[in-house]
């Protein structure tokens, strides 16, 4: 289930404030610039007309280049699923939720409740889980393949993901080489490079490092742009450590990263689909960690992000889920709801991280199921109401009259059937007695049962044996080439 935000999107910043942030960003890009650790990227910026210094590696980008890039970037496009029923239509209205994010170094084991290193098998399983959850529309991950050679970790993850979902996939591929392998794997699934370009079922996820840097691994932007595959930008500026502690200033840093990456992408391939983002995280002053569940992160990834995106007329990438809490508990629920609602009501197009816990350090299948419910609730709110003759139901009110009841009226039955009232599948509304009788289960326990059931029963359409073999071959080649120890 995806949805549309029917009402007005959240608006905190005034038009003037948005323009101020934009102009401040232009000034930073023009006068301070981006430090680029890649010769390839440096060359592209130089040829495009930016002011580059090969010694300091600083690229200063003039306003006209950014303006051109903003003009070229498409406002609408489609992110395809292996199964077209899962196609994501990227426009200025539709909203979608995604499973997980980049690979997590830890995984909350479903049975033991202990944190452990995730494996390729976990990646396959969580992908299957995401494929089954009805409010998850795109797949990233809440695990990671740490039991394979690190040189090809991402490729094994791609293999596990490709085999276990028919939904669109958003995933990282750090560095030009890994990107090339990932693209050839995706082409194998799509039926060819041209097919992949025409109907991309993958989207690159990229996090250029703040403040104001581009790493050598960001050469993957060039590879994906060369193949015409969409790219989602995730430039987080951590207020107080990688950006000014004041959120507006940190937003300038994040925005600068986004616009610089956008300029690079549009230079390589004009009108390459891109998801814009402007994210400001709080640096927790006591732990130094990125505070995912902070009000600052909720605010910036929803309001600042979407208002800037609307100013640029670009689709944007944001967050649902992602609590700081280490466990799917009350804190996790609160944090996930805060993120999801704020992002939903801001009309953020793609919202990821459902199923993350521990501030992104760990994935949890129970949390993914809980998030699925939270997303359903958010979608229901986003749907709003229709005010018309049928919904005003004046004739029904007249019929029932003062003191009557609406329980059995045809109108009630009709609209119940069409989803007028949201019925949670996971969260319970049963009475205390019923709950005690049913075993006093906490919601994460119930979620665990749901996971077990899904893993037992759900499997997506498998890839053809041909394609499965091709994927294995690509990985074998990569291993042969890259594993030198």
């Amino acid at each position: 289930m995806s949805g549309v935000l029917r009402g007005q999107k959240l608006r905190f910043l005034t038009k003037r404030e948005i323009e101020t942030i934009h102009n401040a960003t232009l000034e930073i890009l023009r006068t301070v610039g981006i430090k680029v650790f890649s010769d390839k990227i440096l060359k592209i910026f130089t040829e495009a007309g930016a002011e580059t210094n090969s010694e300091s590696r600083i690229v200063k980008i003039p306003e006209y280049l950014i303006k051109e890039a903003l003009k070229k970037a498409p406002k609408k496009f489609i992110l395809y699923g292996r199964n077209p029923k899962y196609n994501i239509i990227v426009d200025n209205k539709r909203i979608y939720f995604g499973l997980g994010g980049t690979p997590t170094p830890y995984f909350l084991d479903l049975e033991s409740g202990e944190f452990r290193r995730p494996t390729k098998k976990d990646v396959a399983e969580v992908t299957r889980l995401g494929d089954a959850l009805e409010n998850i529309s795109f797949i990233m991950t809440i695990a990671g393949a740490y039991d394979v050679p690190y040189e090809v970790q991402y490729l094994h993850e791609y293999e596990a993901i490709f085999n276990n979902t028919e939904k669109p996939i958003v995933y990282p591929a750090p560095g030009a080489e890994i990107a090339q392998y990932a693209l050839s794997m995706a082409s194998a699934v799509a039926g060819g490079e041209d097919e992949l370009r025409e109907k991309p079922f993958i989207c690159l996820y990229s996090e250029p490092p703040p403040p104001l840097m581009m790493a050598e691994t960001d050469e993957n932007l060039i590879e994906y742009a060369n193949h015409g595959v969409p790219i989602a930008l995730g430039p987080t500026s951590m207020a107080g450590s990688t950006g000014p502690v004041t959120l507006a200033g940190a937003a300038v840093v994040s925005n600068a990263q986004s616009l610089a990456a956008l300029t690079l992408i549009q230079t390589v391939n004009p009108s390459n689909p891109v998801f814009y983002a402007c994210w400001v995280a709080a640096t927790d002053p006591r732990t130094g960690r990125h505070a995912y569940g902070s009000p600052e992160f909720a605010f910036s990834t929803s309001v600042i992000n979407s208002q800037m995106a609307r100013f640029y007329e670009l689709p944007c990438f944001g967050f649902a889920g992602c609590p700081d809490s280490n466990f799917p508990d009350a804190q996790a629920g609160a944090e996930a709801m805060m993120m999801t609602l704020m992002n939903t009501l801001s009309g953020v197009n793609l919202m990821h991280d459902c199923g993350y816990v521990a501030g992104g350090d760990a994935g949890s299948m129970e949390m993914a199921v809980i998030c699925n419910e939270i997303c359903g609730i958010a979608l229901k709110i986003a749907k709003g109401i229709e005010v018309n003759d049928k919904t005003l139901a004046l004739d029904v009110i007249r019929e029932v009259g003062p003191g009557g009841h609406f329980l059995s009226h045809k109108h009630t039955l009709k609209f119940l059937e069409s989803g007028e009232i949201y019925i949670p599948k996971l969260f319970n509304r049963i009475s205390k007695e019923a709950w005690i009788k049913a075993g006093k289960k906490q919601i994460c326990e119930v979620a665990r049962d749901v996971v077990r059931k899904i893993l037992k029963e759900h499997s997506p359409e498998p890839l053809s044996p041909d394609v499965q073999q091709k994927l294995r071959e690509i990985i074998k080649n990569a291993e042969r080439k890259k594993i030198t120890r």
Partner: protein
């Protein structure tokens, strides 16, 4: 008469134990650290030096005392990590700019808890966590040589040799750069330096198992733990 006596006391160096005015000067240095103002700290250090206070004492009884106070206030929640880093950076500047030259002149050695070479490994340009650890180590009384980020293994080896380090601390944030921690350990081995140092590793993807696998001596999940682990490894607790 009083005025003259007062002046005399101020400029007289104590013999043996620390006299009151020297205490005042050292307190001024410690308090300057708490202002988080680089100029104030440098000024206080200069005044202390000018009045004959031993540079070693300025470091240990002035600057480090100030750092320890910042650390105490961090524990109680009054100050934050940002304060720790600010205090550490200012202190380091005062030592590098003014006090170390004095020590080199008189060929005196600092008595730090240990010498730590720290950096983010090659290919990785993330350094916030590493910066915080470096600050915590400095506050705890270690001599810290921060090589920055994207540091090749050879540079770690070179610095260890140059300063006769006791510890090598390696940070990596990405699973793709994590293996570089192993590379540094191997480089230390082939240079014959592995036995001379303790190696600790850290960063989001680092686990106890990884640290054991690559033969690191210790690992920490956060900056505060890092200090404790190091103290344990060096038998300083």
């Amino acid at each position: 008469m009083h005025f003259y006596l007062f002046l005399k006391i101020k400029t007289v160096k104590g013999r043996g134990g620390v006299n009151l005015s020297e205490n005042e000067l050292l307190n001024q240095v410690a308090e300057a650290v708490l202002s988080f103002d680089e100029n104030k700290v440098i000024e206080a250090v200069r005044i202390a030096l000018k009045n004959g206070v031993n540079p070693i004492d300025i470091i240990e009884k002035g600057l480090t005392k100030g750092l320890r106070t910042v650390g105490d206030k961090f524990e109680t929640g009054e100050f934050f990590l940002m304060h720790m880093v600010a205090a550490a950076e200012i202190t380091k500047k005062a030592i590098d700019k003014i006090l170390q030259p004095e020590l080199s002149k008189s060929k005196t050695q600092r008595k730090a808890l240990g010498k730590v070479v720290i950096g983010t490994v090659a290919g990785d340009i993330h350094d916030i966590g590493k910066n915080i650890v470096a600050a915590m180590l400095l506050s705890a009384g270690f001599e810290v040589y921060d090589l920055g980020k994207d540091v090749p293994a050879e540079e770690f080896v070179k610095k260890v040799r140059e300063v006769d380090a006791d510890v090598v601390a390696l940070s990596a944030l990405l699973s793709t750069t994590l293996p570089m921690q192993r590379v540094v350990i191997e480089a230390l081995e082939s240079s014959g330096l592995r036995e001379k140092v303790k190696v600790i590793v850290g960063g989001a993807p680092v686990t106890k198992e990884w640290a054991e696998e690559i033969g690191a001596d210790g690992y920490a999940e956060n900056a505060i733990e890092a200090v404790n682990v190091l103290k344990r490894l060096l038998n300083l607790t």
